[in-house]
Symmetry: C2
DNA sequence: TCCATATATTTCGGCTCCTAAATATATCCT
DNA sequence: AGGATATATTTAGGAGCCGAAATATATGGA
C-alpha cells in the first residue's frame, strides 16, 4: 500500500507505465507532490484558523472585507475566494450568525446584497493573522529567498499549464 | 478587491507588513501561490473524475485497492488517502452503492471489515486513468524535466517545513 | 405599458469533511 | 471466568462544496 498519502516511488510509476504508456513519470511525480503539499498546507492553515473560530474560507472572506470596508456583494466574494455563489450563501450564513459580517439590501438594486465587515470579524482577523504569518515564516524557513522565488515561478508555470486544460 | 483568487501583489504585501511586522513577504507570496495552485490542480482533477462518476477521494481508494486486490480495511484506506475513519465510512458507502467495492466482515477479527475491489470499480479506474495521465502531461508540459525535478524537490522542502509546525 | 430576458441570491439534494460519541468485538490481567 | 481497557467501525451533528432550480428584481424593446 503506497499511493497518494505515501507518494509512489519512481519504480512504481515506471511499472505503471507498462500499462499506461502515456504516463509521464516526472510529470506525475511532480503533480502528485503538488497535490499532496497543497493539501497539507491547506490543512495546516485550517487547523490554525479553527483555533480562532474561523475556517480558511471564512478567513478569506474577512480578508477581502478588511480591504473593502464599504462592503462587497456575495457574488464578488464568491469570485474573490473561488467558490460558487451557492456556497458563499452558506459561508455568509455562518459569518453573519457569529456576528462577523452584516448583510444589507443594496440601495440601488434590490436584488443585490451588500456584505459589510462587523467588529467581531475584524477582531478575529487581528487575532489570527500574527500567528498565521509566524507559521508561514516557519514553514518557508526551509527555503532560501532564491528558492522561494524559484518555487513561486515554477508554480506559476503549473498554473499556466492548468489553464490550458479547459 | 485582489486577495487570494487574484493573488496580492508584492506592493500590497509590503504595505500589510507595516501592520504585521512578522510578515515575511517572499514566504507569504510563495505560500499563497502554493495554496492557489494546489487548489486549482485538485479542482481540475476533480472535474475529470466527475465525468467518469468518481471523485478524487473515491479514485484514490480505487487506486489503493487496485494494488491490493485482497482488500484493505477502512482504517488502512483512511490512513492511505488522508481522511478520518468516519469520512471513509461515507466514501465507502457511496462506492459500495455504485458497485465499485464490496465490504466483508473479516474472518479473524469480527470488528474489522475488509474492503475489496469490484469489477465496476476497476472498470471506472481504467476509464479514467488514460485521460488523467494525458491531462497531467499537458499541465506539466510547461516545465522542462529539470524544472520538474526542481519543483518536486522544493515542494519536498515545504513538506518538511510543514511537519515542523505540529 | 408589458413581456421577455438577464442578473443576484437563495434553496435543494447529494457528497465530503471533521470531532465526539456510540457500538461491537478483542485482549489482557487478576 | 470476568471486568477494564483497547481497537475497528459507524452514527450524529455541523460546516462546506457543487449544479440545478427557484425567487426576486432589473432592463430593454414592442
Amino acid at each position: 500500500m503506497f499511493e497518494l498519502r505515501d507518494l509512489p516511488s519512481r519504480e512504481a510509476l515506471e511499472k505503471l507505465r507498462e500499462r499506461y504508456e502515456n504516463l509521464d513519470v516526472t510529470a506525475v511525480d511532480a503533480f502528485l507532490r503538488l497535490l499532496r503539499t497543497g493539501e497539507d498546507a491547506a490543512a495546516s492553515m485550517e487547523r490554525h484558523m479553527a483555533a480562532h473560530g474561523l475556517s480558511l474560507r471564512r478567513f478569506s472572506v474577512l480578508i477581502l472585507l478588511a480591504r473593502n470596508p464599504d462592503g462587497l456583494s456575495p457574488s464578488q466574494l464568491a469570485a474573490g475566494t473561488g467558490v460558487s455563489c451557492a456556497t458563499m450563501t452558506g459561508v455568509l450564513d455562518t459569518l453573519e450568525r457569529d456576528g462577523c459580517v452584516v448583510r444589507e439590501h443594496a440601495a440601488t438594486d434590490r436584488r443585490a446584497v451588500t456584505v459589510r465587515p462587523a467588529p467581531e470579524g475584524m477582531a478575529r482577523l487581528d487575532a489570527v493573522l500574527p500567528g498565521h504569518y509566524d507559521r508561514v515564516a516557519t514553514v518557508m524557513a526551509a527555503l532560501s529567498p532564491q528558492e522561494r522565488e524559484t518555487l513561486t515561478a515554477l508554480l506559476g508555470k503549473v498554473s499556466q499549464g492548468l489553464s490550458r486544460l479547459s
